[in-house]
Amino acid sequence: MEATIAGQIIDLNNEGYLTDLNQWNKEVAAQIAQEEGIELTDGHWPVLEYLQEQYRNEVPLSIRKVGKSGVVDIKQFYALFPGGPLKKASRIAGIPKPASCI
């Protein structure tokens, strides 16, 4: 499905995750973050960039991987994206939701 986010037409899946990372930019991220109740700050961007880089390299993501990335530790990750950090951060970063096989 399509949605207008930050004045642009963006392709989303039915759970609100971007289906094409090329459509992502910082304005889109900021608006999705707002929907998640998060105001993006300087601390958020390096995390989002890290997630995107891992996704481009086809590396499966986990909370532990983010915690060991050197970008943030797990507690900081929770503080930046309260509730479900990997799930929310992935949506804001424009990459697929972390999922199991079923």
Binding site: E58, S62, I63, K68, S100
Partner: protein
Amino acid sequence: MKDLVILGAGTAGTMMSNHLAKRLPNDWRIRIVDQRKIHHYQPGYLFIPFGTYKEEDIIKPIQQFIPERAEYIQQSILKVDAEHNRVYLEDSRVLDYDVLIIATGTDIAPEEIDGMMGDHWHKSVFDFYTLDGAVKLHKKLENWKGGHLAVHITEMPIKCPVAPLEFTFLADAYFEQRGIRDKVKISFVTPMDGAFTKPVASAHLGHLLEEKGIEVVPNFNIMSLDGERKVITDYEGKEVSYDLLVTIPTNKGADYVERSGLGDELNFIPTHKGTLQSKAKENIFVIGDATNLPASKAGSVAHFEGEILLENIMRYINGKELLDEFDGHANCFVETGHGKALLIDFNYTHQPVSGTFPIPGVGPLNLLKESRMNHMGKMAFKWIYWNMLITGKHIPFVSSKMNEAGKNFEEANV
């Protein structure tokens, strides 16, 4: 004489030794290393806690499945020196290789979580991902009078990601059979956002949890376990108390992978997802649970990888370009209790949907739908495993690449 060495004689390693024994030219020697003597039918662990299988039903000697042409070396692996194409074993033996296949899988690492190991381990906190854990859990369940059972996933990725859910369904049926279901509260505690994370599976199967009276605690990333208070705590301070905790601890690749500098933070090995060649070195290939691929860690995946890996090793030794063809295909039976099961078939790009399997439009198995036939398929699979899968025989009608016919993909586009 040229040398091919396989590390690990589990599902993937044993299968590859059989494939290669038939195809490698005669000037190649095959050696396979594993520290164990006994091959475990790991899908059987799930049934041990409920008494459906006993220990002796799911073990056989490794040697029985290694082809005559290959030499089996029962020894621990110290280190791989990828630069010099050498494997060091604990008894100080050194194996030089031209081609290395890593198939050492994954194991549980409960020590990764603060407080998980302790006096309570295998007393009130259990795993069923080891034979030892499954057998001890069986003894515990037999005498258990009831209380709060929490089934818990520590973190992803784990081997056989559907097993925790299957365990939960089977536990529900088991307590019902024993007439104490009303004395047991069952919770499913997961770091994911639900018991089902894919939209189609969720739509088809979400009702199962409610029907069976199973409470789901989502988005729970465990930080620590307090064995005395019988409480697990997550990074946000959320607590879940239990009387009996059945946890899937952190899954990690083998320790020698870390010592060899070949793994990621969980000792899984960066691997090209289509060719199964390691990213570290051209002559190292990786198969099964040992890889870091975004595919499920499951025997069926290793089986499908096997056909492509065999082809790629033949191409590699003949100086030809590798096939970039593995599609992440997985095929798993999911027990739902009371003699029924589901079947799911999926790959890197397609989530599990409904349909028929293995013959499009015919079946006899139904995808993403509970049936007795699926359960019979799961139980019959033990014979297929010992007699066809690890011995490298082709399983009729089931191709390594996922068949897109007979599947209702339009469901995924809603």
